[in-house]
């Protein structure tokens, strides 16, 4: 009897802020965020449409077996959406693309998607999109199913506008992906609606509430992909990003055993990214957490701890 292949986690883009090509950092890769979860089912499941999405776009090409793509968008910053208009399958009438994303303020993601195609900004007009394109509004905290098979949960995290973290319940293992998230310490409150909530219950209470919600959301997941853009020395918390220390503290509290460090700063060379991992592993030892640097084109079998 054939064994079912394991679910795979593939990194296609691991940089934050902007794509960058420099010889000194191509080891970890220069593309911006895109992560694929290969469930072995008959559709592609990916998170974010940064420049790393080009790997999926090129790999699938016009392959007849890959006609359906589900893309989950964490938020609308350039590093997470800039490749969307160039996805080859978007222009193929035989393909079906489902984009799951939250509204931004009063605007739906489909409205923002249209802005990417604005005349004079992009060489191909919006009406050249020939695939079947379906937008699904994601509401933070409301679970949904993809193709009736994959359960997805979401949470709003502390980053500009509305930014979501996603959690996937897969048969083999659970995985959560939080690409951009800052700590709320020092009154650093960034997300849509969060200032209003702080005004209502106080900053300290909001921080405690947020930390608790995040811990509960992540409790016991087998794998966590988390923002480690900065380190403790260069942290600019109002930029909306975290450090390995913050990620590890969260892993320890939520009893997570495997951390993928993600959203590497575009100015960080391979050496600096590798040093960050060495440093993080030293801290992680006492908690028994495995620490892995996300690297473009790497794939990892997803297994429960």
């Amino acid at each position: 009897m054939k064994r079912k292949p394991p679910c795979l986690l593939r990194f296609h883009g691991v940089r934050g802020s902007r794509p960058t090509h420099q010889i000194e950092l191509l080891g970890f890769g220069g593309n911006t965020t895109c992560i694929e979860i290969d469930t072995g089912l008959d559709f592609i499941l990916a998170i974010d449409g940064g420049s790393g999405l080009q790997h999926i776009s090129q790999r699938l090409g016009n392959h007849p077996n890959h006609r359906k793509i589900h893309l989950l968008i964490t938020h609308t910053h350039w590093d997470h959406v800039l490749f969307l208009p160039f996805l080859k399958q978007l222009h193929n009438p035989d393909c079906e693309i489902h984009i799951h994303a939250p509204d931004v303020g009063t605007q739906s993601f489909s409205e923002l998607f249209n802005l990417l195609f604005k005349h004079g900004r992009l060489p191909v007009p919006r009406d050249r999109v020939k695939s079947k394109l379906v937008f699904h509004r994601v509401q933070p905290g409301v679970d949904f199913l993809i193709e009736g098979k994959i359960k997805v949960s979401s949470i709003q995290v502390n980053h500009q506008h509305i930014t979501l973290g996603y959690k996937f319940g897969l048969p083999e293992a659970s995985i959560a992906v939080i690409t951009d998230a800052a700590t709320m310490a020092l009154g650093n409150i960034l997300g849509q609606g969060m200032q209003e909530r702080a005004a209502l219950i106080g900053k300290k209470s909001l921080e405690a509430e947020y930390n608790n919600q995040l811990k509960q959301f992540l409790h016991g997941v087998d794998n966590l992909v988390f923002d480690t853009h900065f380190n403790a020395q260069n942290l600019k918390s109002d930029w909306g990003h975290a450090t390995p220390e913050i990620a590890l503290e969260l892993c320890a509290k939520a009893k997570i055993k495997r951390l993928f460090m993600f959203h590497h700063a575009p100015e960080d060379s391979d050496r600096r990214v590798a040093m960050k991992q060495i440093y993080a592993r030293n801290i992680a030892l006492k908690h028994g957490i495995e620490v892995i640097n996300a690297r473009e084109e790497d794939e990892w079998p997803l297994a429960s701890a």
């Binding site: 902007r18 960058t20 090509h21 890769g29 910053h77 160039f86 004079g120 060489p123 191909v124």
Partner: protein
């Protein structure tokens, strides 16, 4: 004192970035080149390549606190030509002065840059959120930036409602540079551009052919168009740039060889053959700095 004028391609890709080990020789950043005569720094386009210079300038600023003054010539307001600007670190320093030249109106230019720095897609709040001093000027006639004389040819393009710029820059050191980052490839446009660039010793031209003729290379100059332009302008050196993101180093080398062969054959068969054979064709590369000497002959340094 001898003037050293250098040219660096910081981004050689059109459409979108393509960071990859397969692009190590040419590069994977979107459109940007930098000219430095020791006095003035001029960027042409602000794709993500500009951030390589921005990181370096930030490093120098951290040490010296010397204000950054530079000029940016924007050929157009497509994403690949300007999306790097909001991430250009010096633009967030109060002491920085950036002069932006375009052939579009300042309002059209500001609208483009505001789109790039929109708070829907970035942590910024449009250009008004930048801390630096930015001036946007429409270039309609020859103008000076330091020792550089800059002129622009506005051309119409189906991709945009605003005019797109072809640039010509000359310098007392003898540098005479034509820069075509985006141009339609119909005969009338090419002839018009060739007239404007006539006699430019060095031509930097978009060679945006795709590996499989997809829709992204439509209305753009191909490798062959770039050669045609260089010959029609009597240029001595041609630098090909604005490569399609799927054209990796190997494919680009093959294209270059093909073009060099075509030039050889042209040299063998045409009456002006000998002159045509003096045209040197190069692929732009983010790895090299090019020193433009007084004679405008170009020497590469490793």
């Amino acid at each position: 004192m001898a003037t050293r004028v250098s040219l660096k391609f910081l981004g050689v890709r059109m459409i979108h970035s393509s960071p990859s080990r397969h692009n190590q020789t040419t590069g994977g950043n979107t459109s940007c080149l930098m000219l430095d005569d020791g006095q003035d720094i001029i960027f042409i386009n602000a794709g993500f390549g500009i951030n390589l210079a921005g990181d370096q300038m930030f490093g120098e600023f951290s040490k010296t606190k010397a204000p950054v003054n530079c000029t940016l010539l924007l050929s157009d307001f497509l994403w690949d030509s300007m999306l790097g600007l909001p991430f250009f670190t010096p633009i967030h320093f109060k002491s920085t002065s950036l002069k932006i030249l375009t052939v579009a109106s300042p309002a059209e230019a500001k609208a483009g840059l505001d789109d790039a720095a929109s708070n829907l897609f970035s942590p910024f709040n449009g250009t008004d959120g930048f801390r630096s001093k930015i001036s946007i000027e429409q270039t309609t006639s020859k103008r000076m930036i330091g020792k550089w004389t800059i002129s622009a040819l506005p051309i119409q393009h189906p991709l945009a409602s605003y005019p797109i710029a072809v640039w010509r820059l000359s310098h007392p050191s003898g540098v005479d540079l034509g820069v075509v980052m985006l141009a339609n490839n119909d005969n009338e446009t090419l002839a018009n551009v060739a007239r404007f660039l006539s006699g430019a010793k060095t031509l930097i031209c978009a060679a945006s052919s795709s590996p499989n003729n997809d829709r992204w290379d439509q209305n753009r100059t191909s490798f062959q168009d770039a050669l045609t332009l260089a010959l029609a302008s009597n240029s001595r050196e041609l630098y090909l740039t604005q490569f399609h993101p799927e054209m990796d180093d190997l494919r680009l080398q093959q294209k270059l060889l093909g073009l060099q062969e075509a030039l050889e054959q042209l040299g063998a068969t045409s009456p002006e053959g000998l002159m045509k054979k003096t045209l040197a064709i190069n692929l732009a590369s983010e790895v090299e700095e090019i020193v433009l000497a007084k004679s405008a002959s170009i020497k590469k340094t490793g």
